[in-house]
């Protein structure tokens, strides 16, 4: 096959000693970036972009440069899970859903298992996405072209319905939490009309509420406050830590093959569209919770609840590079920076890149395989090390975590206001958690709120007020119907049973 040959050549390019070294350097840098909340993959790549500038001038240098930068990206995808699991602080937006089951696992003393599951699933998600890119890119590349505002809205709606549908607990509190998320998402510039909303003249509110700051506060600081109440130690600190935990977890993982495949499919779809890795992880978690037989226990520390979001996030993050290469549309903020890098190095992402620079493209694809393997090796060997962080005495690690959170909150927008906000969110998170308000709907609404609204309004604008635009073709109609079906599934099922019962 033609692709195999091209790929083998790509491996030839990527396997030079220099490129291999860059790969490991990139992965390690990426993990550090991923661990530090706020300093996201996009920042990390952007910061190192000028360094690659002179690198790209040597022959074959553009490939080395993109290998370095994309490996930072893979590293960040891996690294985001670490703090999510250990401290309930997502290092990256797409690892928020990983906290839902990953942190409870750590509290049960199974941090090693959770980390192993997260890293392995990330790798599998990426692998499936790269295989798809290798063999199906001509077929799927054009798929993104079918997505206009109505289609994007239906994708976000689907994410939302997949996740929300059947959360238990107090309905009024769930609604309050979700609506507060939507309200916070609306703060700042309304991108459709260009007017400021809910800023009340405060310049600090211009940039709106970044969801990462809310999450660092609500989850991270809130968690520390809650821990304090019960004593000065993290739960699960006494866990046995050695490398065997990796092998034991691997034995457990094949059981979740259905969840893995489904999550990878969700991730690839969301990456190609491009809908983003964060919605992909939420959608995948929501679907796994509905479809798994342990679904009702999700949130109490299920390995499957780590597998689902991590597989999807990494599959989406990887396949997001496809629309970037073939269409020049970045599927994530990091891809946007990489895209800028390509332009600076004199490459033109677009339909012709595959034809004109096959060396570069196939070298990049080969580095996706190799970079992810490198990443997996690095993170897996460090599992005992990461898990051992929990053993550091609380009175040392707690202030360090808060310092990291503060730095993270600051670096998102280089703003001190965000640091104050983070503390406020921490208190809110503590109070909400104790009073039984669910936090996940708030976070999800904050992530998807403005995107969904923007696409909804653009779609309606385009159709001149006609709501049927959301059923105007097979694709958007199918997505919208699926979303509604998921949303009303509990009622439909109940209704169905009633009909059966009566007859």
């Amino acid at each position: 096959m033609e692709e195999i040959n091209a790929l083998l050549q790509g491996f030839g390019v990527a396997l030079s000693p220099l490129n291999l070294l860059l790969m490991f350097v990139g992965v390690v840098l990426g993990i550090i970036i991923g661990v530090l909340p706020g300093l996201g993959g996009a920042n990390g790549v952007a910061i190192l972009l000028p360094l690659t500038f002179s690198m790209a001038q040597q022959p074959g240098g553009t490939t080395s440069a993109i290998i370095l930068l994309s490996c930072i990206y893979w590293g960040a995808l891996f690294g985001g899970a670490i703090t999510s699991i250990l401290f309930n602080i997502p290092g990256e937006p797409w690892s928020v859903a990983t906290t839902f089951d990953g942190h409870p696992l750590a509290q049960l003393g199974r941090a090693g298992s959770a980390l192993t599951a997260a890293f392995t699933s990330s790798f599998i998600g990426a692998l499936i996405a790269v295989i798809m890119i290798t063999f199906l890119s001509p077929v799927v590349a054009g798929f993104a072209l079918r997505f206009g505002p109505p289609e994007f809205f239906s994708v976000y709606l689907l994410t939302f319905c997949a996740f929300v549908g059947m959360s238990g607990g107090n309905a009024a509190k769930t609604i309050a939490s979700m609506m507060i998320g939507f309200a916070l998402a609306a703060v700042g510039l309304d991108s459709v009309t260009g007017t400021l909303r809910l800023t009340f003249g405060f310049t600090s509110l211009l940039k709106g509420f970044d969801f990462l700051i809310a999450v660092i506060g609500l989850f991270g600081i809130g968690e520390i406050l809650e821990t304090l109440e019960e004593g000065l130690a993290f739960k699960g600190a006494s866990a046995r830590i050695n490398f065997k935990v990796v092998l034991e977890t691997w034995k457990e993982l094949p059981r979740y093959w259905a969840t893995s495949l489904r999550s990878a499919a969700v991730g690839c779809f969301m990456g190609i569209v491009p809908g983003g890795a964060t919605p992909a992880s939420f959608m995948s978690y929501g679907l796994a919770r509905r479809l798994s037989k342990d679904g009702n226990d999700f949130g109490s520390g299920k390995v499957e609840g780590v597998v689902a979001p991590e597989t999807a996030a990494h599959a989406a993050g990887t396949s997001a590079l496809l629309p970037m290469i073939t269409l020049g549309v970045p599927g994530s903020p990091t891809a946007a920076v990489l895209l800028g890098g390509l332009l600076i190095w004199g490459l033109q992402p677009g339909p012709l890149l595959f034809v004109e620079k096959p060396d570069f493209v196939w070298g990049l694809i080969a580095s996706m395989y190799l970079g992810n393997i490198a990443g997996l090796i690095v993170v897996l060997t460090c599992v005992p090390l990461f898990a051992a962080i929990l053993r550091i005495p609380f009175s040392i690690i707690a202030p360090v975590i808060i310092v990291i959170c503060a730095i993270g909150a600051y670096t998102v927008h280089n703003s001190m206001f965000d640091v104050y906000l983070m503390v406020a969110f921490g208190v809110l998170g503590y109070a909400f958690k104790k009073l039984g308000y669910p936090l996940a709907p708030l976070v999800l609404a904050l992530v998807l709120g403005d995107r969904a609204e923007e696409n909804f309004r653009n779609a309606i604008k385009g159709s001149q007020g006609d709501l049927l635009v959301f059923f105007s073709n097979g694709l958007v109609g199918g997505l919208t119907s699926l979303a509604l079906l998921l949303l009303f599934w509990p009622f439909i099922r109940a209704g169905w049973r009633m009909v059966l019962g009566k007859s």
Binding site: A42, N43, A46, I47, L49, P50, L51, F53, S54, A144, L145, R146, F147, G148, P149, G188, L189, D190, S191, V192, T193, G194, T195, L196, T199, T203, L206, K207, G208, P323, L327, G328, V329, P330, P333, A336, V337, L339, G340, L343, I344, G346, Q348, P349, G350, P351, L352, L353, H413, N414, S415, N458, K461, G462, Q464
Partner: protein, 337 residues
């Protein structure tokens, strides 16, 4: 009013450059230099046009060791860039901060009432002007702006124009086209220029006014067709981009009967209250940047208008642009209440 770009600055360019060059030797001795890291603010998100230019400038400075202290790029995109401008406004007198601007220097305070104005800043150097091109999908039959706009008029307001942001440059050009021709568009705003170009390829919109660099890949692939450029003269780049056309072959809109001109500022500013010496340092620094081959190839790739201005001429140009934006935005009804 129809003639949107002022002309008189073009003649002064050469003079300015000469003046700057003449001033060089005397400046070399007394020169002030940064004593700590210089922050380069980008009032836009990562990956956009302004961000790219900032990072290329940073890259050129680092690669050629043009500055002793490091330079870091900081994105402050909130509130259509207001966050970045307010930050620089508050850093009055700080010589270790520079900012790259785009049209939001004018549009953001006008559209959102955010309290800043370019007069709060010190104009340093215009690096280039960004062109705008009217694009349609290559599968449509329109070969000239006249044909296309006739179709838009006949279509009864169902044609969609895609652009980046709201009440910003893309929408201003759209409204200018509407005023000039009587055609009516539905304006759909997106987050980034690359996204807009792809939406046009996917036929979710009927036309765009993308910058050259945002749409060039799709043009070369044969998916998009340029109709005209919103500048008074042709772009000077004669290297063939597609089999048959170069940037130079795209006619100015004015020559095709669509009398709309718009160029976007890509310029560097400092906070207010800095000394002449501080300013001169950056003028000289940026001059060295502009002389590198990397910079020249970057300009060609993005098919930029290579006008550069500094000093009084730059200030005068900015002032005229501001007046023009007020006029344009008032006509379009974009001014904040």
């Amino acid at each position: 009013m129809r003639n949107f770009t002022d002309r008189d600055w073009r003649g002064t360019t050469a003079l300015t450059l000469f003046a700057a060059a003449a001033a060089m030797p005397t400046q070399a001795l007394a020169a002030w230099e940064p004593t700590k890291t210089v922050e380069f603010i980008v009032p836009a998100g990562t990956g956009g046009g302004a961000d790219q230019m900032a990072r290329i400038i940073q890259g050129i400075i680092a690669k050629n060791k043009l500055m002793k202290e490091p330079m870091v790029v900081v994105n402050k995109a909130g509130g259509a860039g207001a966050e970045g401008f307010l930050d620089v406004k508050e850093s009055k007198g700080d010589p270790h901060k520079i900012i790259i601007t785009l049209s939001n220097l004018f549009t953001t305070p006008l559209a959102t009432n955010t309290p800043f104005n370019w007069r709060d800043l010190t104009p340093v150097q215009m690096m280039a002007l960004d062109n705008f091109v009217l694009w349609v999908n290559a599968e449509t039959p329109y070969k000239t702006p006249t044909e296309y706009l006739a179709a838009v008029k006949a279509g009864g307001g169902k044609f969609k124009m895609g652009g980046t942001g709201s009440k910003q440059e893309d929408q201003i050009i759209t409204v200018a086209i509407e005023k000039q021709t009587g055609a009516k568009f539905i304006y759909i705003s997106y987050r980034g220029g690359g996204e807009v170009a792809v939406q046009l390829v996917g036929k979710h919109v009927d036309s765009t006014v993308n910058n050259p660099i945002e749409a060039v890949a799709q043009w070369r692939a044969g998916s998009l067709r340029p109709l005209c450029v919103f500048d008074a003269k042709r772009m000077p780049y004669k290297t063939k981009i597609t089999k048959t056309m170069s940037w130079y072959d795209i006619p100015p809109c004015k020559d095709t009967g669509l009398d709309v001109e718009y160029l976007m500022l890509r310029g560097i500013f400092m906070p207010g209250g800095v000394t002449e010496e501080h300013k001169q340092y950056y003028v000289d620094l940026l001059k060295k940047v502009r002389e590198t081959p990397d910079w020249k190839s970057f300009l060609e790739q993005g098919a930029f208008n290579q006008t550069t201005l500094t000093g009084k001429e730059y200030e005068a140009w900015v002032a005229r642009e501001e007046a023009r934006h007020i006029l344009l935005m008032r006509e379009a009804g974009f001014l904040a209440k």
